[in-house]
Amino acid sequence: MNESPAYFDEMLQPDGGPRGPYAQYYDWLRKEEPGRLLEKSAEAEALFRLTGITFNVYGDPSEAERLIPFDVIPRIIAGREWVKVTKGIEQRVRALNAFLHDIYHRQEIVRAGRVPAHMIARNAAFLPQMIGVTPPGGIYTHIVGTDLVRTGPDEFFVLEDNARTPSGVSYMLENRETMLHMFPELFSKVKVQSVSQYPRSLRRSLSACAPQACEGRPTVAVLTPGIYNSAYYEHAFLADQMGAELVEGHDLRVVNGRVAMRTTEGYKPIDVLYRRIDDDYIDPLNFNPDSMLGVPGIMDVYRAGGITLANAPGTGIADDKAIYSYMPEIIEFYTGEKAILNNVPTHRCSEPEALKYVLDNLADLVVKEVHGSGGYGMLVGPAASKAELATFRAKLAANPDHYIAQPTLALSTVPILTDAGLAPRHVDLRPYVLVSPDRIEITPGGLTRVALTEGSLVVNSSQGGGTKDTWVLEE
């Protein structure tokens, strides 16, 4: 009768009644006028536009500033469910940091034969300049965004570990603000764990990793590529919320052995720089000499202990999609425990047998570029046309090393509000993790991304995805 696979819907059970975590919300929702919700939806959009929560779309000058669509139906997770997720994430993030330290020092995991040397040796994300460098506080990934998908009541998979500069946390915070503004009465009915402490925690977490050279209260700054960057809003937002300066490369210089910012009263040293610029562009003296965004000499100061960079350079080796396939081994090697959260089974196309399997089953698989991000250069087999499949077949044959493939997961759905009422759509979840020497903090919830097109599994904002407020209930 129904040919499409049965997806796990997080709100509604097959019998039409709500699942436990949604019971109170559903009770409220049933009594709401659909028309009022649609009005609220429009109101939210106007609010986002006024606040300026927009992002720039690359290669589309006609629409330089776009809103990420916001859906007013929250995604709700029970406190109990969340506890298990956080344990899994914590374990994973610990392993990531241990892996990074090891890879840039003795490479025990390679010596032990658990990760093949060529996975590191041939990896462009391995940064030789970090060899032998131990960052202040021993932390490499101060901020991590772990992308999760859910396929059933107890089944969570990690899709990727964003260990470079995960973005989107401003949406998590603004989505909550917007919901509080529009539906204040709801929050007195349903007890939702707060997310608003994130900027304070971020500041604390960064300050806890101040470098040796720091004297007194650490000066924290956010380094942005500038107002034309797609995530500029977020950079300004976080700096503002943390009470940190928002700086660009040309505001900074090496002064007295430190990286210092040009203030109205002269140059002032920065202790911790939350940088939202990729490794390659951060220092034209040490990396890409054509970069206009970076700070010449910042790597020299970093290596001499004069500044903390968050995240550390070279963390890309840990969230590389090919390395991802080794995460279960990596977790076991460094923590001595089995991974709590599942990895998605991953075919490394660099291996001839895997490549053959992938080419034979292309229409059922998701193929990702190893170094790609944001859904560019990705193939979703079941949704692809014959021509798209043929194009990818050729790409795979030409450069198998550049790709991995995974089965298409039956991503869970949560209803969104449409003109015709509620309709289920696939979602993922990016919780935000803060790592400091004495603790790992995971903000309850995170950013739920939702594929707005019916049946679509692609949630990326650059590919027509939207967002939802994510509620973790108090127990």
Binding site: V110, G132, G257, G297
Partner: protein, 266 residues
């Protein structure tokens, strides 16, 4: 052999430099076969910002220009005691995995020229003999000449030019050795030429990693392995990583450089 070295590099700029940085890799280290008795770096027209050890264990000094300078001058002076180890430097130390030295770089990317050169090589009975043969083969195919010396050539450009200086020779050797499966690296340093005190420029050669022996040096331009007249200062995957001075500056205008180098036996 005790070598006394005095090395001064002066940059002159047409117009004042508002801001500039230079990375110096100019501090030799005590190690097997080489003992640094004393070593000083003095900077005129600039100041030392930070000092650290890079991934290849080179000591790096970061120098900033004094604002508005038209001249900056870096003077190294010191004494180094060197013993002749026939070019053998020893086993790989530190955290750098050997495979890193098999990575090609923009300057050492092997193309048809290198491949042809390797194909035309007659191998020796041992790895060491093969590498010595490689060194001789390179010198024969691409003779030493300072005519029209351009800096920052890639190996393929140097082979196409048909002649080379020490930097190009080192690069060609590194690229070819990596092609043949040997980890290889670039060395910048000093060489005391026997017939003179005033040397033309600082020197460069190559090292390859030979199983059993560790790192062994090859000075292609002079057709020998480094002896007691050679002072190792910095190593890296190629010239760019081991350059004695590399920098950037703001402001327009041309620059000129003047080097004075004395290496003499004490």
């Amino acid at each position: 052999m005790r070598l006394k070295i005095h090395h001064q590099t002066t940059y002159h700029y047409d117009s004042p430099v508002p801001y500039g940085l230079q990375q110096l890799r100019l501090r030799p280290k005590s190690r097997e076969g080489q003992e640094v008795l004393h070593w000083d770096i003095a900077v005129a027209g600039g100041k030392l910002e930070v000092c650290y050890e890079d991934e290849h264990a080179n000591t790096v000094d970061l120098v900033s220009f004094d604002p508005g300078q038209t001249e900056i001058s870096i003077t190294c002076s010191g004494e180094v005691e060197v013993t002749d180890n026939h070019g053998v430097v020893g086993r790989q130390k530190g955290f750098v995995p050997l495979w890193l030295y098999e990575r090609s770089t923009a300057l050492t990317q092997a193309g048809d020229g290198i491949k042809a050169l390797v194909a035309g090589l007659t191998r020796g009975e041992t790895d060491l003999a093969t590498l010595h043969a490689l060194s001789a083969h390179i010198l024969a195919m691409v003779p030493y000449s300072t005519d029209q010396a351009a800096s920052d050539l890639t190996v393929e450009q140097a082979i196409a030019a048909g002649h080379a200086v020490c930097q190009d020779h080192a690069h060609i050797f590194i690229s070819a050795a990596r092609q043949m499966g040997f980890p290889a690296r670039y060395v910048s340093g000093y060489l005391m030429m026997d017939d003179r005190v005033m040397q033309d420029a600082s020197h460069a050669w190559a090292e390859a990693h030979v199983p059993g022996l560790g790192w062994v040096g090859f000075d292609v331009s002079n057709g020998i392995s480094p002896d007691a007249r050679y002072v190792r200062v910095a190593t890296a995957l190629d010239y760019r990583g081991a350059a004695p001075i590399s920098g950037m500056r703001f402001g327009k205008g041309a620059e000129s450089m003047n080097v004075s180098l004395q290496v003499q036996q004490q």
